[in-house]
């Protein structure tokens, strides 16, 4: 059985509300590390951290460079930096130019997580108004990971999940409210 080790989530416009639903729906028994890349115009992730901590049974914090990725924790990519994971499960940041017009880019995080966790990774693409995450999700799938895409009809802005479906397809395309229960099932099986 390939119990997942990590979950990577990408979202953009409309992402905060969607994240609240998902993170708030995680089982307290979840042993996976959860990495979130949420495009946002604000300069820090403090507010999002606070909002998610209020609904989450797992601790939510900003990912810190060089620190180890710990199980059962939700990490947010800091604003203004790409978030990557090293093969030894430590965080790394980069301030390289924007990818898909954004930094942090979901694709950058997905690519590096895909290589580290391979078939033990779940990639999730949520609401958003651009195509970031689509090619990263494809990479996740091609390395054996599982792809979940929010159904475009349940997304506040359908562009991003639609782009992911068009480029990568999905193992599960489900409504927002079904995503956390699905992740719990895949992870606690």
């Amino acid at each position: 059985m390939n119990t997942p080790k990590a979950i990577v989530i990408g979202c953009s416009a409309g992402g905060v509300e969607a994240l609240k639903v998902i993170v708030g729906g995680f089982s307290t028994r979840l042993q996976q590390a959860v990495l979130v890349c949420c495009h946002s115009s604000s300069e820090t992730m403090d507010l999002l951290c606070e909002v998610l901590n209020r609904v989450s049974s797992l601790p939510v914090m900003e990912a810190q460079e060089r620190h180890p990725v710990q199980a059962g924790t939700v990490y947010l990519a800091p604003s203004g930096y790409h978030l990557l994971v090293e093969a030894d499960w430590h965080f790394a940041l980069s301030i390289d130019p924007r990818v898909n017009y954004v930094r942090p880019s979901i694709d950058v995080m997905f690519y590096s997580a895909a290589e580290v966790w391979r078939e033990k990774l779940i990639g999730v693409v949520l609401t958003g108004g651009n195509a970031d995450g689509a090619s990263g999700l494809q990479r996740i799938r091609s390395l054996g990971g599982t792809a979940i895409v929010q159904s475009p009809t349940s997304a506040e802005i359908p562009t991003m999940p639609q782009a992911a479906l068009d480029t990568a397809g999905a193992d599960h395309c489900v409504d927002l409210s079904d995503i956390a229960p699905l992740i719990n099932r895949l992870c606690l099986a």
């Binding site: 990557l84 980069s94 390289d96």
Partner: protein, 281 residues
């Protein structure tokens, strides 16, 4: 063997080839972002594989500057993280003002955006006449562009906002002239700047400094290399000298960090603590 593993072999061979052929050692860079950059470079140079890039790099020495530029990606902004520059203006410069001569080392100066930001701060504080800024980078290309001080005009808006947020009391436009789609920094700001190539991987102390800015460079280095560079900074700084790092850089895994005391932890401004205690020999 699947693609990522194959690519990892190619990356390792590329790094080794670059080192043996030209002496530039990237083996201690953080692997994940280094791999991304090597992949991007090989795409830009239209090589099908990283091995293809290695071959061209080995046999075509004139490509070296381009390769180094691609591996280092010198991206920067003026007054990036305005709160940090505001603190330099309001907290740090008044303390440096007591020195008759101020030396500043900016390591990893990219295209010079931070050098000119510093020069503006010093000018406005009335300290520039007794300051020398040493701006260094690994990439010769970056240094050339830094000396020219010409940037796309589209950046001006953001940079002006940064400048204001950093406490600027003029208009950033006072310091450049705009023509076509470009802006050119007033050459007078260069009068106390020395640009030089310096490799943080291999080279040592560059000057005796009262303030070192090395922002968003160490994030690309593995822990041992980060530690090495911090010891070089320690040895370069005068007692109580200042060190500014990038806003998201962490010192939690560097033993040399023990020599620095936080001045403003949140803004990653540190001060060289008194003489480090030595163990009995």
């Amino acid at each position: 063997m699947d693609t990522p593993e194959l690519e990892n072999i190619e990356v390792a061979l590329f790094v080794q080839a670059l080192q043996r052929r030209y002496g530039y050692d990237f083996s201690q860079y953080a692997p994940a972002s280094l791999k991304r950059r090597i992949q991007q470079l090989s795409e830009q140079m239209e090589c099908k594989t990283i091995s293809g890039l290695t071959e061209r790099m080995l046999h075509d020495p004139p490509l070296l500057p381009r390769v180094l530029d691609g591996l280092t990606v010198p991206a920067s902004e003026m007054f990036r993280d305005p709160a940090m520059f505001r603190s330099l203006r309001e907290q740090v410069l008044p303390l440096l003002a007591s020195y008759p001569q101020i030396n500043i080392w900016q390591a990893g100066c990219a295209h010079g955006q931070e050098v000119y930001s510093l020069a503006i701060l010093l000018e406005e504080a009335g300290l520039y006449e007794r300051t020398q800024i040493f701006a260094t980078d690994l990439s010769e290309r970056a240094l050339q562009l830094a000396e020219e001080g010409i940037y796309p005009a589209r950046d001006a808006q953001q940079w002006s906002r940064n400048y204001q947020a950093a406490g600027g009391n003029h208009s950033l436009a006072d310091y450049y002239s705009a023509r076509y789609n470009l802006l050119k920094i007033d050459q007078r700001l260069r009068r106390h700047v020395t640009f030089a190539q310096h490799n943080l991987v291999a080279d040592g102390v560059f000057c005796e400094a009262h303030l070192i800015l090395c922002r968003n460079v160490l994030i690309y280095f593995s822990n041992p290399l980060q530690d090495r560079v911090l010891s070089v900074f320690r040895d370069s700084l005068v007692r109580n000298g200042f060190l500014c790092l990038g806003m998201r850089e962490s010192l939690d895994y560097a033993s040399a960090a023990a020599s620095f005391a936080p001045f403003d932890e949140c803004l990653r401004i540190y001060r060289l603590a008194g003489q480090p205690e030595r163990a009995f020999a």
